[in-house]
Structures are given as C-alpha cells and as structure tokens.
C-alpha cells in the first residue's frame, strides 16, 4: 500500500471484485430488434412468439423495442394487431401482451429501396429516444436468401450499423442475424461473407441454424463432456458406427420455389446435419466459450475425408419421393406438388457414408440420412458400440448379441436412451435388449424451450457459441460441394425414388448393408 498525503491509497483494482459471482447473471442490454420480412411466416411462427416468451420471462430488457420492416403497407397499430393474433394462438395472457405490444413498431419499405432505409433510420432514432435505448441494434434477416445482399448494402449505406472495431462497453453495438442457408455453394457463401463483412465485423455476425438452439443439441456436449463415463468410450476403440438421421414427415409445404433450387442437400444436409456431425465428433474445447467451441467444430469439418467422384457414386444416395400413403393419408409425389417442375430432378432424400479422418474416429463410418415425406418426424443420433471381444454366452445358445446403442433423441420425445442386453427371466439363458431411458418431459416436467428463444437471447447477450462462424460455413460447403458437383456433372449416383411415407429408397438400405449394418428403427 502507498500513501498520497494523509490518504492511504489501495492499488486500483483491475477487475470488479463484486463481479466474481455475478458473471452468469449477465442482463440483456436494451436494444432494438429490426426484423426484415416482418410480415412473413418465420416472423409470425417463430420470432415474435419467441420474443414475447422472452419478454414474459423478463429476460429481455424492459426498454427493448421491435421494429418490423416489410414490403406490405401496414400501420404500426395494424402490425401490432397482426402480431397479437400470432401470439394469442400460442396462448398468451392479455395483460402481458399489452406490455409487449408497446414495444412493437413497423416501417414499410422495399429491401432494394435505399430511401426506405433512411426512413427506417429516422424511425429507429425516434424509437430509441422514446424508449431510452442507447443505440444497440439487432438486424434479423427473416427473408429469402436472395434479399440478403440488398439488405446488407442498404443497412451499410444508410449508416444504420456501426462496424465493431474492438470491445468498447460504452458504445452502442450492432449485430446481424442471418438465417440459413448461408449461400448455395462455397463460392456464393464466400461472396455473401465478403458482402456482410463490408458492413459488419465477424464478431457482429450471428449465422443462425436453429438446430443449435435446441436443448437436446446443446445437451450433446453436456452429455459427452459433463459425465465421466461416456467420453472415454467416445472413440474408434469402442464405437463401431454412428448414424445421424433427420427425418421429416411433411413434404415441402408451401416452399416449392425455394426447395426446387435448394434440395434437401442445401436445406438440411449442409447445415443441420453438418452441425450434428461436428458436435458428435468434435474434441473437447479448452473452454465452453464461443471461439474454443467453434474452433473444435471447424477442426472436424477440416478432417472430413473429401469424397472422390467414385466415392460419391458409391457412398451417397439421392432420392425423390413419389406418391404414397403417409400418416394414414394419400399424398402426392414431389413432382406433383404445387409449384414443382413435373420433370424436377431435385432430391428430397439424401444419405451418405462419411469418414472423419482423425485419430479419434479413424475407421468409424458416420452414416447420415435426411429426407422429406419419410415415415415419421424424428431426429436422432445413434452411437453404435462394438460387440464385446469374446462371446461368452455362445455356448449357452446366445449366438448373436444386439449392439449397445446410445440414442440421442433430438426431436420429438427429446431425451437419451441406452440399450443393453439383459437376461430374460426364466430358467433358460436368453439375452434380450432392454432400454434405459431419459425423457426431458418426465425428468424435468417440462418441454425444452423453443430454439429461437435461446438464440435470440444469446445474440442479445453477445454470446455467439451457438451460431456458425464463417470458417464453419465455408468448410461445410466445401465438403458438400464435392458431392453436389459429382451429382451434377456425372449424374452419379442416379436419382432414385421412394414412396412417400416410407424410410427412403432401398439404395439407402443397401448403403449400410454393404458394411454389414442396417439403419436403426426410429
């Protein structure tokens, strides 16, 4: 301790000693959410209900504002009324709505019209002044990807977002949330990244893949790394194969325009499935923070074995559904769907055998499959363990034993199960597979929260752990491009069909049967 006159002076603290325990109690900053595409389906179904629930749970700052921007002529009052209907559908008590409705504002405009962005700027300043928001802004692109470029340009040109140079607590921040698909191939993803980077720094960009906001997806890491018994088994010594399934029972609904140009490969495989793969295969990060986690995910993508044209022909399957019976009803085939080219070659199903070329996973095949109009809606990761090294019970007539399977159920019936063999009651020695089950609902008594709630709050808090980083997106495209290029150039493997309501084409069964496996029932 030093002395200055007769006043003893303690060394100035570098960190706030009152903060020690409060680190996890970070409160959301007051900010304005600017939703582009405010009259669209995503805003109605997901964004406004999620923001409303966050508001109800008092997780948003009380001064938060939400400004909708869309082409449709709409007064703020009419916008509020429209949003009320979306929220009341999800069971909102009206007192809480009354508080929330005051946070909603609307600006009509065309995304290409820079004058409209000047008007938006005026409205933002007015709202911020009225509600005491210090200029913090989150721009949400709830629009088709084709609108991203004019949006970014006009936000930049109108000076609505301040580019972050470094962490400055005292200055207002700006962040942008961009929906998937981020690009339609590697080149377009790079172009889009370059465009967005002209206005926003990487730390300001939140590429959203709502799968990462699902409680069960986050639980993959907790399950693996928060329990002592699983991580030691999480490698090629104990794991025989991994199966990842993202199955949808619905068709393309009203999205034919988008789906015709995207296909299941761009709609689900390049993003959701690659994210599930990286979370399953990644090494433990040094810290549970945004960059260490995303570093490890990117490393997995770097170690994916690039597929040669021959491997694409042999180890991938692409299919398209034809008319069939799904969920007890007759449904049309993909080519008969409204807005689809009757000669369309767009794939609605995709399966692939993938190798992660690293020490941990060498020799372990990862089988991935996803499709529309499959038998049921289910997303699951199945870790299939190796058989015991010695068949102790063969002499007692138990020739084959079922493999132990750890199933991480992402949706529905969120939970985890482990199957193992058990002696059936009786005098004879019979071994039957039985299950240990964990269900979120019966353990925690509640369904996991909606993914958008978590992700919108994380963005407000500046936590990008559950958002995709530039290199992740580009690396995923690099791998998927290798498959798509062969599909397009060599037409190999051929596009096959499967009846709606089934588990996909027989060729996909053959893909795993070649290695002595079968797809596990969901």
């Amino acid at each position: 301790m030093s002395a200055r006159g007769d006043v003893a002076v303690a060394p100035e603290p570098r960190a706030n000693p009152l903060r020690e325990e409060s680190a996890t109690l970070k409160a959301a900053d007051p900010c304005t959410f600017i939703v582009f595409g405010a009259t669209g389906d995503l805003t109605h179904r997901k964004l406004i209900p999620a923001l409303f629930r966050l508001s109800k749970q008092k997780l948003l700052h009380p001064r938060t504002a939400i400004v909708g921007f869309a082409r449709r002529e709409l007064a703020t009052e009419a916008f509020r009324e429209e949003m009320r209907r979306t929220v009341e559908d999800s069971g909102a008590p009206s007192a809480e709505w009354e508080r929330f409705r005051e946070t909603l504002f609307y600006q009509q405009g065309v995304f290409e019209d820079h004058q409209a962005f000047r008007s938006l700027g005026r409205l933002l300043r007015e709202v911020e002044q009225k509600r005491g928001i210090p200029g913090n802004r989150i721009f949400y692109f709830a629009t088709p990807p084709s609108e991203y470029a004019p949006l970014v340009r006009n936000i930049g040109a109108a000076g609505l977002a301040r580019r972050a140079l470094r962490e400055e607590r005292s200055l207002p921040w700006a962040r942008v949330i961009i929906e998937k698909p981020f690009g339609r191939d590697l080149q377009s993803a790079r172009e889009l990244n370059a465009l967005v980077h002209a206005v926003f720094a990487e730390s300001q960009i939140f590429r959203i893949d709502h799968y990462l906001g699902k409680e069960t997806v986050q639980n993959i890491l907790v399950f693996r790394l928060g329990n002592g018994i699983f991580e030691p088994l999480w490698n090629n010594r104990y794991v025989e194969q991994v199966q990842i399934t993202v199955a949808e029972s619905v068709g393309i609904e009203s999205r034919s325009g988008y789906f015709e140009t995207a296909g299941i490969s761009r709609d689900i495989f390049q993003n959701h499935m690659m994210q599930l793969l990286t979370l399953t295969a990644m090494e433990p990060p040094a810290r549970f923070e945004a960059d260490p986690v995303r570093d490890e995910k990117a490393k997995v993508l770097r170690t994916l074995h690039p597929m040669s044209p021959e491997e694409v022909a042999r180890d991938t399957v692409r299919g398209q559904y034809i008319a069939g019976a799904a969920g007890g009803a007759l449904v049309p085939g993909y080519r008969e769907e409204q807005g689809v080219d009757p000669r369309s070659r767009t794939e609605t199903y995709m399966a692939a055998r993938i190798h992660v070329d690293n020490w941990r996973w060498s020799g372990v095949p990862f089988f991935l499959r996803t499709g529309k109009r499959l038998a049921k809606r289910a997303t699951e990761i199945a870790i299939v363990f190796r058989q015991p090294p010695f068949s102790l019970f063969r002499s007692a007539g138990c020739e084959t034993l079922e493999a132990n399977i750890l199933r991480l159920r992402i949706q529905p019936d969120e939970g985890i199960s482990l199957s193992f063999g058990s002696k059936s009651p009786g005098l004879a020695l019979h071994i039957d597979p039985v299950q240990m089950d964990f269900y979120y609902l019966t353990s925690f008594g509640q369904d996991p929260p909606d993914a958008y709630e978590r992700l919108l709050l994380d963005c407000n808090l500046g936590d990008s752990t559950l958002f995709a980083r530039r290199d992740e997106v580009e690396l995923a495209w690099e791998f998927v491009d290798g498959i798509l290029n062969t599909w397009n150039q060599d037409q190999s493997p051929p596009l096959v069909t499967y009846p709606a309501g089934t588990w996909g084409p027989p060729e996909a069964d053959e893909l795993v049967r070649r290695f002595g496996y079968h797809w596990y029932r969901l």
Binding site: V7, V9, P13, R19, L25, A27, G91, R169, S443
Partner: protein
C-alpha cells in the same frame, strides 16, 4: 400461475395411520386411476415426473401461505413432495398420511405433468417418528432436498431430516429476528454446497446491480475508497437477514475489517480508511425487505450513488450523484420465491461468497448486539 394450471389429482382430506406399504399402494392406485381416465378436467396423457425428493416441514401457521410456492416449485422442478405438518393433528392421532399429486398443464399442450405429494401429519408426541416415516418413502436414486421452513428451535427431528438430505435450503428470513446466526453456523459447519440460505438468493439482483454500477472503468477505483454505506429496509426494527448478508458480502469482497460500533452504526476499515455502515428501517411498508443502498466514496475517487428498488418492480433506480449526476432505471432481476428455491436446487457448487458473507454478517451482528 392461474388456478387452471394446477390440477390436484387425488388428495382426500384426512388421512390414514401411517403405513409405508399402504402409502406406496395408494400412490400406485392413484396413478392407475389417473391413467384410466374418467376425470373431466383432464385432456391427454398424464406424466409422472420426479427429479428429487422434496421434504418440507411446514409450520401449520405458514402452511397455507407456502403451499402455492411449493406447487410452483414442483412445476419448475418435479419431485416427490413430502409436506410435513408437525403437531398438526390432535393428540393421540400419532402419524397420519395421505397421498395426492400436484399437476400442471404442459405449455405445449397435450396433457398434465404431475408431482406426487405425500402429506404426513403428526401429533406433538409423535414428531420424533417423522424422520423414519419419511426415510421409508424416499425414492432411492433421486437426491433429497430439505426445505426447512419450520421455525421451531428445539428440533431434533429436523436435525435427523437434515442428516438424510443431500441439500438443505433454509430461509433465515423465516427465523426469529436475532436467531439468524444459527442458519449461518449450519452453513459454516456443513458447507454451502449442502446448505443454502434463501435470504442470500433474494440478494442476487441487488448484487448484480451493485456490481454493474462499478463496472465502468471510471467508477471501479471508487470501490477502494468507500467511506460510508447506508442500507435501508422497509418497516422498522432489527435489520433483516438480507441486510446483514449484503453488508457481509460487501465487507468480505472488499476486504473490510470490523472495528466496532458508534451511534450511527458499525465502523469498519478498508485498505484506505474507515467505512461507516448504517442499517435502518424506512418506517414504511411491511416485510422488512431491502429497499435501498447508498454508497459514498472519498478522495481520490469521490463517488456517490444510490440504488432503490421496491416490491416486485422489474426496474431499480440508480442515481449517481458524484461525479456528475445521472439517474437511470436498470433491469432488476426480481424472482419469485419458487424460482429462488429452484435456482438453489440447481446449484451444485459451493458458494464461497455466501460463506464469506455469512461469517462477516455474523460478526457484524455480534458487534451490533453488544450495545
């Protein structure tokens, strides 16, 4: 929570003489009946959920007030709930028990999620039997949480319940004024991993707000030159536990040493000089709830600020009077009592700041009482 969200499956009044086998049978038949339908209030499936055994000795006088809190706790953290009414039945009744279930609708629709409830009532003479009764009905592979809401002082049966609990949640605010150190001694003896004081949990938004005030680089050095702290609470009389714990927290985090007491309050010493600590009731309102804190720092980092929060407001007012003058409303993370309880059940780590604050608070209280 609206009444519509709570459905009690089966909780007949009265009860039968305690018999663990009969209780388990009652629970099984209750679930069987629930699964068999016939209740017009139910739509869809019924899920029985349990993450813990929740053992709650209730003061009969507080039972009605706390029951809605317990229902809310089971909604947030399903459990087999044991509510214990010690001395709640007439002499000669011995131990009585009945079963029921507390249910809430799934937010996403599609049925009810239910927590089992076992109500155990005893006459005054049979209270020593309560621990063995509870022990016989605990779900073995789930943790046991004891919510000690019973203010009795001579409580060997509660000590026995404590021995079987993995987590003990005590609310020093429910204790007789001046007896709070008992709670803090328990915390010191058994560690904050096992024992938590809900009075501390209520301070979470106060601590977060205070920390936030000193976050800016220009204000941070003022923590080292604090000269006076005034803490105000609603009502009047002896300072309530949250006031002591907040004072203890500041003293322990900032390294103050207690020196004594004068007419205005306690005198402490920081590394740079004396700190006066005054605690007083505002004379208005009820409940002896923390309402304001004013902190003043001296040279070379003069600072003067006050935080005021009332009731269940979601905003606290922060006035900085020097350097400069600013006044702002900041979000205040007020949490319902049930949310505080569940937050502590979810905490699995030791809480060093609480341990340190409790030691400092007990020390301060001893000096305060000397006068």
């Amino acid at each position: 929570m609206s009444v519509d969200e709570i459905k009690v499956l089966d909780a007949p009044d009265g009860g039968r003489p305690f018999d663990p086998a009969a209780i388990e049978t009652d629970l099984k038949s209750m679930w069987k009946r629930a699964g068999g339908g016939g209740d017009s209030t139910r739509k869809g499936a019924i899920y029985r959920a349990a993450l813990a055994n929740l053992v709650v000795p209730l003061d009969p006088a507080l039972g009605l007030k706390l029951m809605p809190v317990l229902v809310d706790v089971t909604r947030r953290h399903p459990a087999r709930l044991f509510s214990i009414g010690a001395g709640a039945v007439p002499r000669g009744s011995r131990l009585l028990a009945r079963v029921g279930a507390v249910c809430h609708r799934r937010e996403s629709g599609g049925g009810l999620v239910c927590s089992e409830q076992v109500v155990v009532d005893s006459d005054t003479e049979s209270t020593p039997l309560i621990p063995s009764a509870i022990r016989s009905l605990l779900i073995g592979d789930l943790p046991t949480v004891l919510l000690d809401f019973h203010p009795a002082l001579d409580r060997p049966w509660i000590s026995e319940l404590m021995d079987m609990a993995d987590v003990i949640l005590v609310d020093s605010c429910l204790k007789e004024p001046g007896t709070e150190p008992e709670t803090w001694r328990l915390l010191r003896d058994q560690g904050s991993r096992r024992v938590r004081d809900l009075a501390w949990t209520r301070l979470v938004p106060w601590r977060a707000t205070l920390a936030e005030v000193f976050d800016p680089r220009e204000y941070l050095p003022a923590l080292g030159t604090i000269r006076s702290v005034e803490i105000g609470f609603s009502g009047q009389g002896y300072p309530p536990p949250p006031v002591w714990l907040l004072a203890g927290w500041l003293a322990s985090r900032l390294g103050w040493i207690l020196e004594g007491k004068d007419r205005s309050g306690l005198i402490l010493r920081s590394g740079t000089g004396p700190v006066s600590l005054a605690m007083s009731g505002t004379g208005t309102g009820e409940g002896r709830v923390l309402e304001r804190i004013r902190i003043r720092s001296g040279e070379p980092h003069p600072f003067d600020m006050e935080i005021v929060h009332r009731g269940r407001d979601l905003t606290a007012h922060v006035d900085v009077r020097a350097p400069g003058t600013t006044s702002s409303g900041v979000p205040f993370g007020y949490r319902e009592f049930a949310a505080c309880i569940v937050g502590e059940i979810h905490r699995h780590a030791a809480n060093r700041p609480l341990e340190d604050a409790a030691v400092a608070a007990e020390d301060m209280m001893r000096h305060w009482n000397r006068a």
